[in-house]
């Protein structure tokens, strides 16, 4: 996020706070932004994280295929996160590793390490809408949530699985996004994204993501243990199970470079 948008956001946020106090009407756009900012604010400061994920891919016939990935993530102030992902399964890609420096504005920097060739390849990050490892999650679905990536509109309050939710529409600002919008159910108590509907480029409902079994770490940060993505058009689905979340591991920038990519395992 550049300084201008940050300032703009802060002004918008204070204006919103003032208007809430003085009971002036705020626009749905302002309210949608304010709610989404709370999601980010409440998740700030986790510094670094280790986690393992298991993906279970199911096709229309219910046949399963499994992916196992370990991740190291470093929170970067005023920019996207740095992450290193190591693939354990399927076996033919074991040892393959993926280094990503995500940015709130512009293209992410991404490198792939192919262990059989000992080769590090810089890859184009233009492909945000492509499937991740053949799953129903695209690269952008797995990227960290940043305010500048969307514009916003509050729709209504609605009852959801774990209480009351705000329903907010988020419109991607990146022309390479695979979506025209996503509709997000955010719970009023803790500002967690409980459910997300994704609308494709033709604006028809494509996928629904449901995040389940939220656990709180370090007394602050909520993480879903299970994320279920269902594709309504292809009838395929992917379940993502997160285990071994660990925060505060003392990771630094020096854990995220081409040398650490090459020796990741």
């Amino acid at each position: 996020m550049n300084f201008k948008t940050l300032t703009g956001t802060l002004i918008a946020a204070s204006v919103m706070a003032l208007s809430a106090n003085s009971a002036l009407a705020e626009t749905p756009e302002q309210k949608g932004l304010a709610i989404s900012e709370q999601v980010v604010v409440r998740d700030n400061g986790w510094v670094d994280m280790l986690a393992s994920m298991k993906m279970v891919l199911r096709n229309k016939q219910g046949q399963e295929s499994v992916r196992e990935i370990r991740m190291k993530v470093l929170e970067v102030a005023d920019d996207g996160d740095k992450s290193l992902s190591i693939f354990d399964r399927p076996r033919d890609v074991k040892g393959t590793a993926f280094l990503s420096f995500s940015h709130t504005q512009g293209a992410d920097d991404q490198w792939l390490y192919l262990p059989a060739l000992k080769r590090v390849k810089r890859i184009a990050s233009r492909n945000k809408s492509g499937p991740f490892m053949g799953s129903e999650f695209s690269f952008e679905d797995l990227a960290s949530f940043e305010i500048a990536k969307y514009t916003y509109k509050y729709i209504e309050d609605q009852a959801c699985d774990i209480g009351q939710c705000f329903v907010v529409e988020q419109y991607p600002t990146d022309k390479n996004s695979g979506y025209t919008k996503r509709v997000v159910w955010i719970d009023k108590a803790e500002y967690r994204m409980i459910k997300t509907d994704f609308y494709d480029r033709k604006n028809s409902l494509l996928k629904t993501l449901t995040s389940l079994d939220y656990q709180q770490y370090k007394g602050k940060y909520w993480r879903a243990s299970t994320m279920k993505m269902v594709n309504h058009q292809s009838k395929k689905s992917t379940d993502l199970q997160w285990v071994d979340y660990r925060f505060g591991n003392g990771l630094t920038e020096s854990d995220f470079n081409k040398n650490t990519l090459k020796r990741a395992r």
Partner: protein, 399 residues
């Protein structure tokens, strides 16, 4: 392997306090079964067959200790080939100890190092010797003994190499395909350096990424991995004798990653007793993402290879254009197809290739490779392969 490297590994292992609970061990393996079918019998003696079966085994053992600050990898390689006794071979792809610190790491032992960005050849990739018997296009390499100190700085990564001990290129034998009319007699190999195989080579590389650009610069001084050949008579038969010269080389490899474009370039300048010359390989890859509203990506690539020595060049791509298309379905099985063509502008010869692979279940992968050669000019190396058009099926099982 050189004694120094062995002693370094031994000392490294002995000085590490080991307790069973902090030692991590992992063993994995890959078994590849390869069936080759040729369109016709070969053009030289002993090539009168149209099929070949071969199996390769590549286990990998990995130990890690000292809070992951030290690790040891052992990766031998074995191949058994039905026809070519030279292709039945074993190698130590990796036997190395790596010690890690915050901003440096020391890698000691047999290892493989890859440098480069382009697809059709990698001129800057000079550290390891080619394992030529493995195939024309695979780019397989032999393990190289080395001491490699790698320093991580804000301004890039610096790698310093001392390379004790030289590995000779492997050669297809009398019964093998993809060779010239004469076979290389490995007993006749000679060296420019009086130290022969024991000449200690040195290299340095700086690499860095800034914004959209990834750049590497290298310097290498030592035994040239690519030998020069001379026809000699041995026991009344003409054979090829390989001579390894000394050389010094500098080079650059760079890639710009801009939206759908990958712009790639490798340039070297080499000084050896026969020639001082420039060579380059450069080109692009443009990818159409999500073609036809699907998840599939289609990449179009084009590269040009140049060598200042022209027809005298030992490189196959001395004045060649390569074009190709890469289709990645991005499906559960990671299916992909790469079709390509190389056209030699000096000799007007062509080679076409197709490579397709797909995962089967959780532990198998199937690969299909096919290649067709067409060359009229007898001076073109490719003219040796004109009866070697093949289809190869490879099944990899992972353990």
């Amino acid at each position: 392997m050189n004694k120094i490297a062995w002693i370094a590994i031994g000392a490294g292992l002995l000085t590490q306090p080991l307790s069973a609970n902090e030692l991590f061990f992992e063993a994995t393996a890959k078994v590849s079964t390869e069936v080759s079918l040729f369109a016709q019998q070969g053009q030289f003696d002993n090539q009168n067959y149209r099929s070949n079966l071969s199996v390769a085994l590549e286990p990998e053992f990995f130990w890690e200790w000292n809070d992951a600050s030290d690790n040891l990898t052992f990766k031998p390689f074995f191949r058994i080939d039905q026809r070519d006794s030279n292709r039945s071979h074993a190698d130590i792809r990796e036997l190395s100890w790596v010690h890690l610190a915050d901003d440096w790491e020391l890698r000691t032992g047999f290892r493989k190092v890859f440098w480069g960005v382009t697809e059709y050849q990698n001129l800057v990739d000079v550290i390891n010797q080619s394992d030529t018997v493995e195939g024309l296009s695979k780019g397989e390499k032999l393990g190289q003994p080395m001491l490699n100190l790698s320093l991580v700085r804000d301004w890039g990564i610096v790698d310093l190499f001392v390379l004790p001990g030289f590995r000779e290129q492997t050669y297809v034998g009398n019964d093998g395909r993809f060779r010239s009319s004469l076979v290389v007699d490995e007993d006749s190999t000679s060296y420019q350096s009086s130290k022969g195989k024991k000449h200690v080579d040195v290299a340095a590389r700086w690499s860095h990424s800034f914004d959209l650009y990834d750049v590497g610069l290298h310097w290498y001084k030592g035994t040239n991995r690519a030998p020069q050949y001379q026809v000699i008579s041995k026991d009344g038969t003409d054979v090829l004798k390989a001579n390894y010269q000394q050389m010094e080389q500098v080079g650059i490899d760079a890639q710009a990653t801009i939206d759908n474009w990958l712009l790639k370039s490798e340039v070297i300048y080499q000084d050896n007793p026969t020639d001082n010359y420039f060579a380059s390989q450069m080109g692009f890859e443009y990818t159409y993402y999500g073609i036809q509203e699907s998840a599939a990506d289609l990449g179009i690539l084009m590269e040009y290879g140049y060598d200042q020595r022209g027809k005298k060049a030992s490189a196959l791509l001395q004045n060649d254009i390569g074009v190709g298309a890469r289709l990645a379905l991005n499906d559960t099985q990671s299916s992909s197809v790469l079709v390509g063509m190389i056209h030699d502008l000096d000799y007007n010869s062509n080679s076409f290739s197709i490579e397709a692979d797909r995962r089967i279940g959780e532990n198998w992968k199937a690969t299909l490779r096919a290649r067709v050669f067409s060359a009229d000019d007898k001076d073109d190396v490719v003219s040796n392969f004109t009866k070697d058009d093949y289809v190869k099926l490879i099944f990899d099982r992972y353990f």
